[in-house]
Amino acid sequence: MSSGKHLKGVHVNHSKNTAGMPIIPMPVPERVYIPMSMHIGAPCQPVVAKGDHVKVGQLIGDCDKPVSAPIHSSVSGDVESIEQFMTQNGRVDTNIVIKTDGKQEIAETVVPPVINSREDFIKAVRASGLVGLGGASFPMSIKYNTKPGQVDTLILNGAECEPYITVDHAAMLAYAQDMVDGMRTIMKWLDIPRGIIGIESNKPDAIAKFNEILAGSTDISVCTLRQVYPQGAERVIIYECTGRHLIAGKLPADVGCIVSNVTSVLKLQQFLTTGMPLTTKFLTVDGNIVAKPQNVEVPIGTMICDLIEHCGGLTGEVKKILLGGPMMGRAIPRDDFAILKSNNAVLCFDEKFAAQRKETACINCGRCVAGCPMNLMPARLSRAFKDKDIDALREYNVMSCMDCGCCAYSCPARKQLNFEIKQAKTLVMEDDKKKKAKAEAAAAKEAAKAAEAEAAKAAAEAKEGGNK
């Protein structure tokens, strides 16, 4: 399937300490804090009020804007309050605080959806509350709502290229059949002829399992990916599986692909069969000071500190907590944030791991260029950013950066290249906005002038006519 050529990348230390551990459900915590914005797009509005009793899977937040995903309660209990505070995204958000009753009653609304057409299917996808579970949190209903015939390949992303995280691996081993069924359902309703499951070669048991299930079938194949970070990035996995380049500013559908995380498809399949929307999340809890590293199934809205407590607490003084893997994950300043739909790992580290190395001068070694999957020149971009040279930033294709962090990982000078590029992108976008505004203003001025001239001309003509 792949064209023999590969995109560049870096070799990272896998540190998959929890490999082979099954996913164990976590008991519901005392309280959950469910924010109303867990997806890219418009935030939801609470549809419950303080004091209401809610059940598992009950709709508690929704929004009439198309780019959004509804939010469901992950527990049964009473709505204690609806508060504004900062979530792990760094934004102040409306949060529904639910005090759990421990009964975990399932809501009456949880029934398998009836699907007869493509539209029904898209509607069902939206109702499931699913967002891209790989981390992008893009509402899945939007992703799947492609033009008929536009997409010819469904790619199941089981690369899991980030160090430490093993939860997708565990899910693949446990639910491979469901995933394949889910893929077939999606392919059926969206009329996609081909399915590819991309798995990094460091998970031979998962590959074997899928091959076993898929033995004899022609619609879905397994694509073994190299052990090079970032195989799981959307643009990379599309290229590695189909040989198509996805360039910046385009959607996967533009190159005929839909990429979904393995757990997204699994949860969708579960929703279609049971009617239970997205209320729990598979997470890897790991890090050098976690007492019992493991894979857990966590109700959405659980506080990170509760989750850590569940995993046996910490054995040392924590200095850094990461949400997601060490390559692209976010460090959080404190541990009283709630787990969101898009999280896939919680990693805790002590001083030894966490300390940021000191940045030194760029020595132009070219390791960042050699490691960039997008073939950019991070060193040049960094320099152009330092000079605030927006033209140079554009010239070096700053907008094509996908923030995978390969450049910063391989930089011997410890420069935060991808972060600088991220800020440079903001700079360029602001400049674009300014330019657009200026052009619009100029056009408006031009139009006003033309209108004025027209009016003057008309007036003159009228006058002339009057004189006559």
Partner: protein, 324 residues
Amino acid sequence: MADKHTNLIVSAAPHVCNPTDTATIMRDVVIALIPALAVSTYVFGIRAILMTVICAAACVFFEWASRKIMHRENTIGDWSAIVTGVILAFNLPVGMPFWMAIIGCFVAIVVVKQIFGGLGQNFANPAIVGRIALFIGFATPMTTWSVTKNMSQAIINNAGVDAVTGATPLAMWNAGAELPSNLEMFLGTINGSLGEVSALALLIGGIYLVVRKVISPAIPCAFIGTVAVLSLIMGFDPIFQVCAGGVMLGAIFMATDYVTSPITTSGRIIFGIGCGIITMLIRAYASYPEGVSFAILLMNILTPHIDSITRSKLNGVEKKGAKK
């Protein structure tokens, strides 16, 4: 609720990094230079080590002192000054007075590097400029070569009546004298600058660097290849041309200096070819017997232009053009 942890470290992703940093890279370069130092100690005697140590120490001192004067962070920990010092020493005749070598170190570290803001901001290789400045400033001591008993018979035969001052193979070639055998050229029992005599030792160092992924083989291969091809075309002995003078040292250790060479592989190949062509032009035509350092310096100066014409292309962009 469980214990809260606050005031944690927040920083940008990625949170892990490759263990290779600037200091380890520079340290690898120093390690790769050791075989050449060993050979030159065998050929020239203990003064070779003395010269190398003095140059390295002087470079470190100048680096430290200039950072101190500029009120900037001390950078001697990154080993780059040591690399410059050792390579500069390798470019000097072993009998060079030490104070002159120290002036070369001053030029290399202070004038070429620190005035422009330190590591990574110089546009020319410090060791090269240091060598050229000494070569032009102190022409006689820089071209006075002492002969020792460990050298090839051809060199000893060629030496003057006093049998103390000799000539480098390149000078002998220019003068049309009897030349050492190619094996002697390769092993390094010849006369020349301290570190450039033994092609074998330098090659070992180069292979070590390539294996450690410190340098990419693009520049050395392009450089040495061009020299070989051009000498064939010009009717010279390619093995002699490659082993003589500073081609090996220059191609492996000086032209590959990251800061002053292009960043992309295609740029590096152009850079190497350019170095080779200029080296051979100077060897064949100019009044100086050796042109490696001038060639590298000129290509250093051209590097920004090479960089701007060999920018890496965005993936998939050609495709977009085809679609349109």
